[in-house]
Amino acid sequence: MVPLIINSLQEDLQSRSEHNACLALSTIATIGGKDMSESLAPHVMNLLISTTTPSAVRKKAALCFLRLYRRNSQILQLDNNLLQKFFALLEDHDLGVVNSTIALISEIAQNDPASFELATPRILKILLKVQNLEYSREYMYHSVPHPWVQVRCLRFLKIIPPSQKAHLDQLTQILQKTFNNTEMPRNATENQRNAINAVLFEAISLVIHLDYDQGLTATVVNFLGRFISARETNVRYLGLEAMAHLTQSDSNQGPLLRKYQKIVVAALQESDISLRRRSLELLYNMCDRESSKEILVELLNYLAACDVAIKEELVVKIAILAEKFSQTYAWYVDVILQLIRIAGDYVSDEIWFRVIKIVTNNEDIQEYAARNVFKSLKVEPWHENMVKVGGYILGEFGDLIVNQPGSGPMDQFKTLHSRFGAVSISTRALLLSTYAKFANLFPEIKSNIREILTQHQDHIEVEIQQRACEYLRLTVPNAEQLLQTILEAIPPWDEKAETAAEPAKKRYTAPTDGSSAAKTENGGAAAAAGGAGAGAAVGTGSGLVDLIGMGAPQQVTATATAVSQQGLAMPGGATRSVGQAAAQLSLLDIGTGSQPATTPAAAGAGGFGFGATPTGAGPLTGFSANIGAPEVAPIVGAGVMPGAGPAASAGPESSGVGPTAALGTGLTEEQRASVQTMWRRLCLVSEGVIFQDANLQIGMKSEYNGAEGRVMIYFGNSSTMPLTKFSVVIQNVPYLNIQCGPAPTVIASRAQATQPLKFQVLREFPDSPCMQVSYVNVNKQVTHVVPLPIFLSKFLSPPAEGAAVAGPTFLQKWKLLVGPGMESQEIFPSKVPIDITWVHKVFAQGFKISVLEGVDPLKNNFVLAGTLTLADGPVEVLARLETNMEANVYRITVRSSRSASSEFLKALFVSQLQAGQ
């Protein structure tokens, strides 16, 4: 049936009657399935470019082709000839044809801007002609020369802006004329005004987009200032929207726009939600250091009055602004407390977690926060989120305000407990933890607390019941030391690790001292979750919940186990007697419900959790994300364990450049091999250990996006003494533009510090940059040169979706890439028997490029396509890998338009494949 329909449509397309052809085009555009578009697209294209087609049909053909192209961009085979045809269509005398053609090429140009650079002068010409009324009168719309064509042309110029000076001047002229022609005739109809404004707003948007010269920007700012107080609501709306666009693309406009702030704030009171949303967005963008206080006061005022539809958005925005622009933390705490008071229901967990974290990390506001939270807790009406924050903060820092009148231990306890009956189970659980902390902080109210805990021993909720039982056991008389150790104050959060991707790992600081309950709870929880999808299970934010102890019901049991594991595994000399506490814990027999998951996880830790990971579980999770845990585990072991001995390079000598030279100093052959394996592995994974000696362990996590990369370097001090005079110097290399974040200067014993790096790749490179790390440990200066695992291949990505390379296209492109240096080939033997599935994994998951199926008929051969993004643009990289299983030999061929890309990438591929897994 389908072929018949297609056939009949094809006949209609060629029909002499315009109506038949038009109807056929409409049908194709509306139905346009795969078969239809494949077999009919060439005919539609013919109609579009043939010289004999009537204008009415040509218009439709352009639009029909556009519809087909949107669904499947493969139907278009763009060559120079066709481009010229398109350009000729742009010069058609019929404005309708021109309009449809611009619509079509705008869409194509988005995928392939390079080919359409020559269209820009033609578009400018059309604009001029429209403005000079050179097209037929029937395209006047309410005395405005075809506004839609003007809008379309201006939008096209956003995609491909003019690059030559002459064209830029021409554009400036056109824009100036548009801006000058905005005086509305007195008797203008609504339609006329709208049409003029449509063009005007498009021109404004273009000026903002192109980041135009100052003269025009000033005009635009003036226009926008007028618009946002215009009488017509539509114009006000668009004015606010355009202004938000302006603030977003150019933050320097802040002072210029400050004078409009009042008007924008007033727009928050509009009854139309569309306007309110725009004004909120704009205020949010306008906010900077100077205006933040004022704007936030306005927003908080508005929050109290605004309706539900916008409240949630508003709360998040206020929280972000408050944090971003807070000059003092006290002010930030005030804002968030106010936020909870006014709109507690809309304050998500992330927001109050954040405030707790900031308070915990900044000693100087802890007292202030405790005082204010306590005050807010007493205010009616109260919100549950306030109880949560209050419970947490008072539990940690309640002792700081205990001497102030009216906030003694009993007052604090009573205030919190007065809310106990009315809050949810999870909050109650949190409060029980707070009480346990109180029992530690204020021994005088221990008996009251024990009373409450006793009441909840047989609570119907297992979570409450368990906590009550456990805390009751902890607070028995004569166990003060244990209580103190377990309920020790929370150490500061690791701010840097916070930004890292995996939530299960990110909230953990190295076990610097004794283990507070909450802290180890997290350790326990993370360990218990083990390697298997810990991140997914815990989720963003809920890591914090765990810290306060609301995660798995058996946390405290897990705690006990985790504590003992850590305590025992720690290589002696820990400042606090954790080992002792652990032993007591086991004696107390709390840890009966032993956690099988923790045991193996903690065992391999060697007492020091690295890279924000509590135990051995961490590194496993990290690697398994990319390669699979079993393969990696031994490598981590090898890298960490043997390297830790005295063999690692110590002393002030700095060794040469290059991975093996730097890492391998003084290592035995076997260790050197393991270091090499580790290094090679880092080429494929995004995180891992990069260096290890007796005192210092260096790890990294990395993230790449296009030509940019970020690396977070973790320095862990595994010795019992602090590392002082710590300094990090990153080698300056011509191929990377590296920006270094602040480096630590001192790392306390068993603590961890981080340094962020951001860089952009400028051109291809064969090796990796190095960093020089030096520190003083027990009066001994130590310097290491450590290579950073930044490889050219890290900037590879699969080809963009739109340009997915299918079989025939691949071969076509492959054949095009011939020329001196474009190809790099090597035949090399594999050291281990070739494993096809592993090779697939190396490319697809390690190098992150596409392995194309069905291009090469031999299934042991690989066809690969990727995009290497450098600062000056992407380079398409194609590769083929042939395997000879009998001889155990590979042949790899890499092609790209740049010889350095082909050469260096090939070398990286070879180094991975050669050694095998």
Binding site: V151, R155, A198, S274, L275
Partner: protein, 108 residues
Amino acid sequence: MIHYFIVQNRSGKTRLAKWYQPYTEEEKTKLTSEIYRLLNAREAKFTNFLEFRTYKIVYRRYVGLYFVMCVDTTDNELAVLEAIHLFVEILDNYVRWGNFSLGTLFDQ
């Protein structure tokens, strides 16, 4: 890009609809009723634009009919608004030629 174009009367009945995206029937019903609910609550002096899900709705009321276009948020709202008007003008001309008055169409 226009995602769909709907003409609804004041009681929420769809008079004309053209979908440029493959929605299922259920989705279409859901979209039309949701849009009606939103538009019906809006006063005449409000803007003709409404952010809706990840798109933007541009609408205009002619006596008893809402003409609604759903477009991308980056599209030019006023150009779309005038496109609606142009469509209505053409419809009006067309209907008048056929000895109808657009009034009857609107009155339904």
